[in-house]
């Protein structure tokens, strides 16, 4: 009987631990929750949001035939992208099950450009970022829905390992700031969770549109680390992992961030 009581206590105890653990799980919060009210207001007003210039530039590139191209994006995807599937956009970056390759939205746009004979652009060219911003903006309000099963599992593990690795002379990992110290202040800015749902975003700090891959590079540079190349495997793995952390958050492109 005493044994039974002990077992009961043990069982209740472990249940308590499990339930309190669940309540401590990190709830995904958009960077929007961490920026200053004036920055939020800027993001919310299409006329004030500087990122809308990139959306307009992307729209122009989308609707019109590019130099050397046989057709425009709009000829397949509808004028102003009206026929694009928002849910498919929200799944980027996507994983190719056949070879476990990660495909970013920018890469897909680049492949489309290649197929239609448009001039090839280097990774993160301003026009590519404008098109990425335009396409992503079509899915504004849609919930981020990155694949987390199948071939994505192993890739996400690798991305998470990068997230937890220290880089550069400043010697911090992404997890340090965006995991341990979320909500506290660093150099006058509130530290966000490092969510990706607002990207490409307009960055007030540098006054430029920035996609997720570039933001990773900028973070590494400020850690005084050698940044990963724009089209490197590391940046795609980390980008996939970051976007998977944003699953369930609404797309805000173009967000305004510090």
């Amino acid at each position: 009987m005493i044994l039974f009581r002990h077992l009961l206590i043990l069982l209740c105890g472990s249940l308590l631990i499990v339930s309190s653990g669940a309540s401590l799980a990190l709830e995904a919060k958009s960077g929007y929750e961490y920026i200053k009210p004036a920055t939020r207001a800027m993001q919310d007003d299409d006329f004030e949001n500087p990122g809308m210039l990139a959306v307009e530039r992307g729209l122009e590139l989308f609707n019109n035939k590019q130099a050397g191209a046989r057709q425009s994006c709009a000829e397949c995807h509808g004028e102003d992208g009206i026929e694009m599937d928002k849910k498919s956009i929200a799944r980027y970056p996507v994983v190719d099950e056949s070879n476990s390759a990660i495909m970013t939205l920018q890469q897909t746009i680049g492949e489309c450009r290649k197929r239609t004979g448009s001039q090839a652009l280097p990774a993160n060219h301003a026009d590519l970022i404008a098109m990425e911003t335009f396409v992503r903006n079509l899915a504004i309000g849609e919930v981020v829905d990155v694949q987390t099963d199948g071939a994505a599992v192993a890739l996400l593990e690798q991305g998470e390992a990068i997230f937890k690795t220290r880089y550069g002379l400043i010697d911090m990992s992404c997890a340090h700031c965006h995991g341990m110290y979320t909500g506290l202040m660093i150099r006058g800015q509130k530290i966000s969770q490092g969510q990706a749902n607002g990207f490409p975003a307009y960055r007030l700090d540098i006054g430029e549109m920035t996609n997720l891959e570039q933001r990773i590079q900028q973070c590494l540079t400020s850690m005084r680390a050698e940044p990963f190349a724009a089209d490197s495997e590391e940046i795609k793995l980390l980008g996939l992992y970051l976007m998977s952390r944003s699953n369930g958050l609404k797309i805000e492109t173009p967000a305004v961030r510090y």
Partner: protein, 154 residues
Amino acid sequence: MRIKAGVITFALLVSPLSGIADESRLPDDYCAWEVVDYAIEEPLCGLSGDAARGKQIVTDAYKGNCLACHLLPVDGVEAYGNIGPPLHGLASRMSEAQIRLRVVDTRHINPMSIMPGFYRDPRLINRPAKDYKGKTFLTAQQVEDVIAYLETLK
């Protein structure tokens, strides 16, 4: 009597790292240091610090940049941070030798610490940018200056 088990000599700590690239060899002027009982007793390279210079390094965003993370009794700071502990009265809580280890390489106290090691062995830095390869965050003199300033926070 000093507890010898707590002694980590610096040479022992780094020697097993055989995979280190030649290009990141220790700079010629790097001074070895020794951790004893969670402290570094000897000033780096035997230098003595200057508190006034130390205060400048502490507040300079391109040098110590301490205010990015720590609250300090310095006036007129707008871009402050609070992820590290406040440093008011630090010298009344810790010895100079304990402060020295925390500035040099606090990971000997907390391996998960976010704080950069300002005089960490540069060969332990993962993927430094080209301009920073083989360099410490601060020079030995700057570290001693910072410690001299922190010593004034009583």
